[in-house]
Amino acid sequence: VTPSGSLVRRAAIDALAQGLGLHRDPIPEPLEPTSWQTLLTLARRERLEGMLAQAVHRRWLAATETQAEELDALHADALELCLMLERTLLQVLDALDAAGVRALVLKGSAVAHLDYPDPSLRSFGDVDLLIHPTQLEAGIAVLDDRGYQRRYPEPRPGFDRRFGKAVTMSAAAGFEIDLHRTFALGPFGLTIDLEQLWTQPASYRLAGRPVGALATRHRFIHACYHAALGNAIPRLAALGDIAHLSRSDEVDPLEVLATVRAWRGEAVVARAVSLVGEILEVDVPGLTTWAAGYEPSGVERRALRAYGERASYAAKSYAALRVLPGFRARAAYAAALIMPRRSYLGDRHVGYASRLQRGLSQVRGRQHLL
């Protein structure tokens, strides 16, 4: 990051924080052209177009007329994509409904509509749905009927339903849809009480139609899982989601802690809350002090490392073995990953032997780094 780049990033973070109603010193002079272009690139990458546009509109961030027009155009591009994604979302929800498959919208559209004062403030770039594990295969079949195809075959029959995080479905002329079973791949995704997510879900209206979403507390926890276990460096918008959600009256820190304790996910939430504090310099009410003092156990530390900067699929899979209950589940999981069906391998690895070798070397490499 160049000095100019770090200053621009700071400006973007402050714009996000002032959008939460927190005090940040305004930027009273327009940025010079190079820094402005850096800011636009960052806004696109971090999905901050709406928050930055709001900062300019409120005159917190000074901009020339041309700069304001450029930012508005960037914001409009992002929102056009959001609208097209929401149309796809509605079509898919209608098809799932018709087949009796229940679905809850994750992230994206749901957070934009439910957790921001105006959905135009939060742009997004994909469609994610939570499907009940028992209906995951039916959900895949519905999308299959509509011309979608799995991006990757299932390692072994029943793997998605028992152990998978999500199945990505893509259409030749359309967007990808992720059908999620749980919040994360690997150990932290396997200890979530998935039934809880389906009790008392939230709802919002999209094009006049009621659409289901996670309850507010679960949206907050999911935002934490996404930020802490997703990209090595989470998007600023993902951290902003945590900050926004944490200010909801419906997010009680004690209930959050009780829930994630039962899910063995305290370390995940502690990491996410710490990231919000370190990167955004924003407190998460009722959780910042707790997160600062949280000491992950040895098991949690090892599990968290599986999601680090150099995390591999194999390392997450290996870590997941530790949390699976019972020998049968562990054996089924290991067999699916070490000896998947030929169709799963495709042209990624030429055979079982090379896959085993590659998987083991990734795990070894991972452990070597520990």
């Binding site: 546009a53 300019v56 509109h57 304001a68 027009e69 508005d72 914001h75 409009a76 929102l79 056009e80 959001c82 609208l83 097209m84 929401e86 149309r87 105006d118 959905p119 135009s120 209206r205 999209l206 094009a207 006049g208 139609r209």
Partner: protein
């Protein structure tokens, strides 16, 4: 639209429209449109005003007040825009109860 208006004709947003706003535009995606349609300039205020059912005269008065314009001129300017919004399924025409 205005031709059909008998004083009780009211226009409002179709609830089936997906939409968003930027600082300078409103983006609409009605069910039949292939791509989002942009409203800019006074179109942004028009869309805001259509958040509840209003007659053409009410809409014109609101916009005339906001932009310090002649309401009769605003009615003339509004007609083709409203007709197009109705045509693409972004706005519906109803009657006061």
């Amino acid at each position: 639209v205005a031709d059909q208006s008998d004083g009780s004709t009211r226009l409002e947003r179709m609830p089936t429209v997906l939409w968003r706003r930027t600082g300078r535009a409103v983006l609409l995606l009605p069910p039949r449109a292939e791509k989002p349609i942009w409203l800019t300039g006074t179109g942004v205020q028009l869309w805001e005003s259509l958040s509840e059912p209003r007659t053409v005269d009410e809409l014109a008065r609101r916009l005339a007040r906001e932009f310090a314009a002649d309401p009769r001129q605003v009615v003339m300017d509004l007609e083709p825009v409203l007709a197009e919004l109705v045509g693409i399924g972004a706005v519906r025409v109803g009657h006061a109860p």
